[in-house]
């Protein structure tokens, strides 16, 4: 009896030791019936379970707790604004990034230097500062320039022409910050496009050119289709990053979901409830997006071809 107990204790102790091993090294321990279970347990995506658990808890709260569902309804318009800003800014950023990325691989010194200047500035200035700078310096400056242009050409366009009348106040902060976000991310996308283009071997360009295609035709039909397929994962990640960074526009008072939450929390003093809901909203949006992106990558991985 005692003997059996000791044996059990020793085995048990051994077990604990193995669990500790598994946790510390996250290496699968030796194979044995108990070991396999521990191995499986240690290989479970615990982080995912925890996120799902937290999400489920908040979902339950929102579904049953009136306060939470009220807060969510308060945030609804903000969520739409966040999604709208992100989508528009992202599409614009991709276009800017494509053009600047082509400039970065261009042999034309003017295009190369302009796009490199742009990328370096974007890289070196914090994104929050960029947003403030575009909204308060660049766009007003652009309008001052338009007014000046209108005044200089008043003899041609009339004394009260549309250029003189153009006022920067006519552009909402929403548009300004969307543009600012697009410019900020355009710099990063430019580098992504450059890396993608440079990853395609020179032979592809030579083969296309030897068939009589112009540089731009070769880019359009041969290089970019292959490059874009390769840079799809980083482009998708940047979309998620931008969704998160779009919260910065709340600094300028644009009523995205963050701003709505701040306003509501400040008025109601329900800080934990409001910010729980806010975090939940962002987390579910990024979570859904990353699932979507994984699906797209998987499909392209099946059909996509690269040398």
């Amino acid at each position: 009896m005692i003997y059996r107990y000791t044996e059990y204790a020793i085995r048990n102790k051994y077990c604990v030791f193995r669990i500790a091993c598994a946790i510390v090294t996250s290496q699968p321990p030796e194979r044995s019936p108990q070991g396999r279970i521990i191995t499986r347990l240690s290989q479970l995506p615990w982080w995912l379970l925890l996120i799902l658990l937290a999400g489920l808890f908040l979902f339950y709260k929102i579904a049953t707790d009136e306060l939470y569902s009220f807060i969510l309804s308060k945030l609804q318009r903000g969520i739409l604004t966040t999604i709208g800003v992100t989508v528009v800014a992202y599409v614009t950023a991709i276009l800017i990034g494509l053009i600047a990325g082509l400039g970065r691989v261009s042999k034309n010194p003017v295009l190369f230097n302009l796009s490199t200047l742009y990328v370096q500035i974007i890289r070196g200035v914090p994104i929050l500062v960029q947003i403030i700078y575009v909204a308060f310096v660049i766009i007003p400056g652009f309008f001052t320039f338009l007014n000046w242009l209108g005044a200089s050409y008043a003899w041609l366009l009339g004394p009260n022409n549309f250029l003189i009348q153009a006022q920067q106040q006519s552009i909402s902060f929403l548009v300004k910050v969307t543009l600012a976000l697009a410019f900020a991310y355009g710099g990063f996308e430019a580098e992504t496009f450059r890396a993608g283009i440079e990853s395609i071997g020179n032979g592809q360009m030579e083969a296309a050119r030897s068939l009589g295609m112009s540089y731009l035709q070769a880019m359009r039909y041969i290089i970019l289709p292959q490059a874009v397929r390769r840079i799809l994962p980083p482009l998708g990640n940047d979309f998620i990053s931008m969704l998160k960074d779009s919260s910065l526009v709340s600094v300028l008072g644009v009523r995205d979901v963050t701003q709505e939450a701040r306003l509501y929390a400040a008025a109601s003093f329900q800080y934990p409830e409001t910010y729980n809901t806010l975090a939940f909203v962002y987390l579910s949006m990024t979570f859904l997006l990353s699932l979507l992106l994984k699906g797209i990558e998987h499909r392209l991985g099946k059909n996509g071809r690269s040398p």
């Binding site: 032979g203 592809q204 030579e206 083969a207 296309a208 050119r209 030897s210 068939l211 009589g212 295609m213 112009s214 035709q217 039909y221 041969i222 289709p225 292959q226 397929r229 996509g304 071809r305 690269s306 040398p307």
Partner: protein
């Protein structure tokens, strides 16, 4: 400036430097329409560079090149039009991996020759038939062997109805048993009267197809002549040395 010459390819005093390294140090040659010129020589002798200058993949440092009576000048206005008349086959095939074999052969016809989809497909299938792999039309390049890929590359160039075909060591990256298929296609092209410039050391092909051989070393033409004379009675010691190496 001399009047445009009648020969298909005329090169005068071609010089090409990479940085300070001279790759081609003054080469002149002429290829008449329908003739096959083979360039041989040790690696680094500048033979590929000469070939790549003919369709302006390399910009010559100095010298003149005429292709079918048109001068390849330093301004690039005409260059795409001239390139469409000059097919090129690369050592590494350089097929477009994101397109099927058929699309590979159709693409340039569509956007450069502005052929309709049906017409481009007809020509593409005809050319794939000619190089002996019509059944691979729907495959992607990565599903083909090296020899098959190189034959697709030849079909892709031929579909543009070029006046000249350039081959840059087309069999060097192939397994021995694939080489014959590619050489057979090249040989039949030569018999049909295509003007060809070939950089290759495949002596069987050279003997059977070449009208003239140029032996280059260190960026210069050491010796040139018809294959019989060059192989059997080379006049230069350097040529004899090189031939004894590759004819072993």
């Amino acid at each position: 400036m001399a009047a445009a010459p009648k020969a298909m390819i005329v090169i005068q005093d071609l010089v090409k430097h990479f940085g300070h390294v001279p790759a081609v140090a003054g080469v002149s040659l002429t290829v008449e329409a329908g003739k096959v010129l083979v360039i041989i020589g040790p690696s680094g002798s500048g033979k590929s560079t000469v070939l790549r200058c003919i369709n302006h993949l390399e910009t010559p440092t100095s010298g003149e090149i005429w292709v079918d009576g048109r001068r390849l000048t330093h301004d690039h206005k005409d260059i795409n039009a001239i390139r469409a008349e000059v097919g090129m086959v690369f050592q590494q095939f350089n097929l477009f991996p994101h397109l099927t074999v058929l699309e590979n052969v159709m693409l340039a016809q569509r956007i450069i020759r502005r052929r309709s989809r049906a017409e481009a497909e007809r020509v593409a299938r005809q050319q794939l038939e000619r190089v002996g792999i019509p059944e691979k039309a729907e495959a992607y390049p990565e599903q083909l062997s090296g020899g098959q890929q190189q034959r697709v590359a030849i079909a892709r160039a031929l579909a543009m109805n070029p006046k000249i075909m350039l081959f840059d060591e087309p069999t060097s990256a192939l397994d021995p048993e694939m080489i014959k298929d590619v050489l057979d296609v090249m040989l039949s092209l030569a018999k049909e009267g295509m003007t060809m410039v070939v950089v290759s050391h495949e002596m069987g092909f050279v003997r059977a197809a070449a009208d003239e051989i140029i032996f280059m070393d260190q960026g210069l033409i050491v010796e040139h002549g018809p294959p019989d004379r060059l192989f059997n009675a080379p006049s230069q010691e350097r040529t004899r040395q090189f031939l004894s190496q590759i004819l072993r």
